[in-house]
């Protein structure tokens, strides 16, 4: 084969194969173009939704963000939110006080002894429990505690209903926190003759604490933002809580949002937005604080990674 033959056959090959872009079908071009537009648009839609929620709440709440929010009780037509703020704190901290010890213990069990069949089914059921609608929990709280036990709308019924909702979240975050600690740490503990309880409570828990705390912050944020389980368990009250756990309804911020917005008074609408602003800021703040703790822990305990 001569040199000219070779070059002519090469040109032939190149002629049919040149311009790879030109061989992309119209269908593929359309897919690439429209796909890119759609991917960008999707993210922008989600981001716009988030920002519009925050701005909508902030702008409408601005006229109501006064000191009187924290010093006056609500009257139904206006006033402040002192009673509702107190109620939200009582209900969410109270439910955390019940759910945290039980949830953390369940999480320890799942992480340390949960490899068998019992642990697997427990883990599965707690995942399913997360999916139970909160209104169902509220209704069960209503028929059991409010009606059957005769507690009426009360702090206790609200707290217990909320804590059942928080249990699986706390259990799973504790489990994950402990699961991230290497096996060698446990072996070192048992190697120096420590008992099961000592290894878990004195060695593993301090290491997992920031991650467990993050889970508790999430749980607190969750309980503060809930409405459905409280409507028919905690009720509503325009007054400050008198310290009684049963037979005494209590107010909370999320109730203000969905009822005051339907009142015919402008002042009530402003209160509803102010309540939404307070709740949203606290909830987002707790989530960000939790995130920060995880990052802080990872930096500090770099040796574990």
């Amino acid at each position: 084969m001569s040199a000219s033959d070779l070059s002519s056959s090469m040109t032939q090959v190149q002629r049919s194969d040149v311009h790879p872009r030109a061989r992309i079908s119209l269908k593929r071009k359309l897919f690439r173009g429209l796909g890119t537009v759609f991917v960008w648009a999707s993210f922008l839609i989600v981001a716009a939704a988030f920002l519009s929620i925050i701005l909508d709440v902030l702008i409408n709440a601005l006229p109501g963000l006064k000191l009187s929010l924290f010093t006056e009780v609500s009257t139904g037509m206006g006033g402040g939110l002192k009673n509702a703020i107190e109620g939200t704190l009582v209900l969410s901290l109270g439910s955390l006080l019940i759910a945290a010890p039980v949830g953390i213990a369940a999480g320890i069990y799942l992480s340390e002894f949960g490899s068998g069949m019992a642990g697997k089914s427990l883990r599965f059921l707690s995942d399913v429990l997360v999916g139970v609608p909160s209104i169902v929990l509220g209704y069960v709280g209503y028929i059991t505690m409010v009606i059957y036990l005769g507690w009426q709308f009360s702090v206790a019924a609200g707290i217990i209903t909320l804590s059942v909702m928080l249990l699986p979240y706390i259990a799973r975050t504790t489990e994950m926190a402990l699961g991230n600690i290497p096996l060698a740490v446990r072996e070192a503990g048992f190697g120096i003759g420590a008992s099961e309880g000592t290894v878990i409570l004195r060695i593993l828990m301090p290491g997992a604490l920031p991650a467990v705390m993050t889970g508790l912050f999430y749980a607190l944020a969750l309980s503060m933002g809930e409405t459905a389980p409280l409507i028919y368990t905690a009720g509503w009250s325009n007054y400050m809580w008198n310290g009684q756990f049963t037979n005494q309804p209590i107010g909370y911020l999320t109730y203000v949002i969905w009822t005051f917005i339907n009142e015919p008074f402008e002042a009530a609408h402003v209160l509803a937005f102010a309540a939404a602003f307070l709740i949203t800021m606290v909830v987002l703040g707790l989530i960000l604080l939790g995130r920060w703790m995880v990052i802080w822990q990872l930096r500090k305990r770099g040796a574990y990674r």
């Binding site: 790879p20 796909g35 993210f43 989600v46 981001a47 069960v140 944020a221 459905a228």
Partner: protein, 319 residues
């Protein structure tokens, strides 16, 4: 090592979790038993929620004391719950997957972190604040501008025509629900996409696919189980969502949607909006019928969640 007191204590506390799930089902079933007997099985298909004549004398029907004319069919709730949840999933799925892909593959690392946080924070916004947003911002906007425009220009598509309504209704509910489930799907898909072996993506790129074609032909088929699992999980979330739906759905009673703008109600929202009037029933049958709805909703979401979790466990995904 022999089981210690410590471990027994742990087992005891841990068993609160399954016990509370069983207790929920048992309490609801016990309480709603009279309503289950009175309503029969066909109450799913009847469309006649009516407390009856509350000023009459209670009559005994099928062994239960009820007010005359009372009946508790929930077909409109079945339709409203399923249609709003499926429509929400239909909207959420493409947007969530595309935004997950955008955050993982199309942005530099320093930028994707903070922007992903934006999507994650959307998940933390309380349901009632979503409802407030829908009520104060979306409904006036959609009801006065978007829906009339849709109805005039796209009326030829089935269910798009007819009266555009006031803004309260099926489409608004589905849009709000979609934004509530997007973060869940998006976060799971983000993890799924970043866990794919780089070699697979490189193989696709090497064959001349661009990045989007790699997503469509390689990444998504690989994540099929995860995608189906998290979709069903999100569906379960949408089925049980309460406060946002109460505030934007229009709380229809015995009313079937004839187009996408029609007011609806869902099982969860109905329980919140109706308990007050159900308490007026002196025979207590209406409250028990609401408990039956709660039981139906509970069983429905438990089944949906079991299916979703089995799929996700199979795909080794933690959410």
């Amino acid at each position: 090592m022999k089981p210690s007191l410590f471990r027994f204590g742990l087992v005891g506390t841990a068993s609160f979790l399954p016990l509370s799930l069983i207790a929920l089902i048992v309490f609801l079933a016990l309480y709603s038993w009279p309503a289950i007997q009175y309503n029969g099985f066909d109450f799913f298909w009847r469309n006649d929620w009516d407390l009856g004549n509350l000023y009459g004398n209670p009559v005994e029907i099928r062994g239960q004391q009820v007010m005359p004319g009372a009946s508790f069919g929930i077909w409109f709730l079945v339709v409203g719950t399923l249609s709003s949840a499926f429509l929400a999933l239909l909207f959420a799925l493409p947007i969530a997957v595309a935004s997950a892909y955008f955050l993982v593959e199309m942005l530099p690392k320093w930028l994707s972190g903070p922007l992903a946080l934006l999507v994650d924070l959307l998940a933390a916004i309380p349901s009632v604040v979503f409802g407030l947003w829908g009520y104060a911002l979306l409904i006036p906007f959609l009801g006065q501008s978007v829906f009339p425009w849709l109805a005039t220009h796209f009326g030829f598509i089935p269910f798009f025509g007819g009266s555009p309504g006031s803004g309260y209704g099926l489409l608004t509910t589905a849009i709000v629900l979609a934004f509530m489930i997007i973060p869940l799907i998006s976060a799971t898909m983000r993890e799924g996409i970043s866990a794919i072996e780089p070699a697979l993506k490189e193989a696709g790129l090497g064959m001349g696919l661009n990045r989007l074609e790699v997503l469509w032909h390689i990444i998504l088929p690989k994540l099929k189980t995860t995608l189906v699992g998290v979709s069903i999980l999100a569906l379960g979330r949408a089925l049980g969502e309460t406060m946002a739906v109460v505030m934007v759905s229009g709380n229809a009673l015995n009313y079937l949607p004839h187009n996408i703008y029609t007011p609806i109600s869902t099982m969860a929202a109905f329980i919140v909006s109706q308990l007050e009037s159900a308490l007026q029933d002196p025979t207590n049958m209406a409250v028990e019928a609401l408990a039956e709805i709660a039981l139906v909703l509970l069983i429905l979401t438990v089944i949906v969640n079991i299916i979703a979790r089995l799929l996700l466990w199979g795909a080794k995904v933690r959410t």
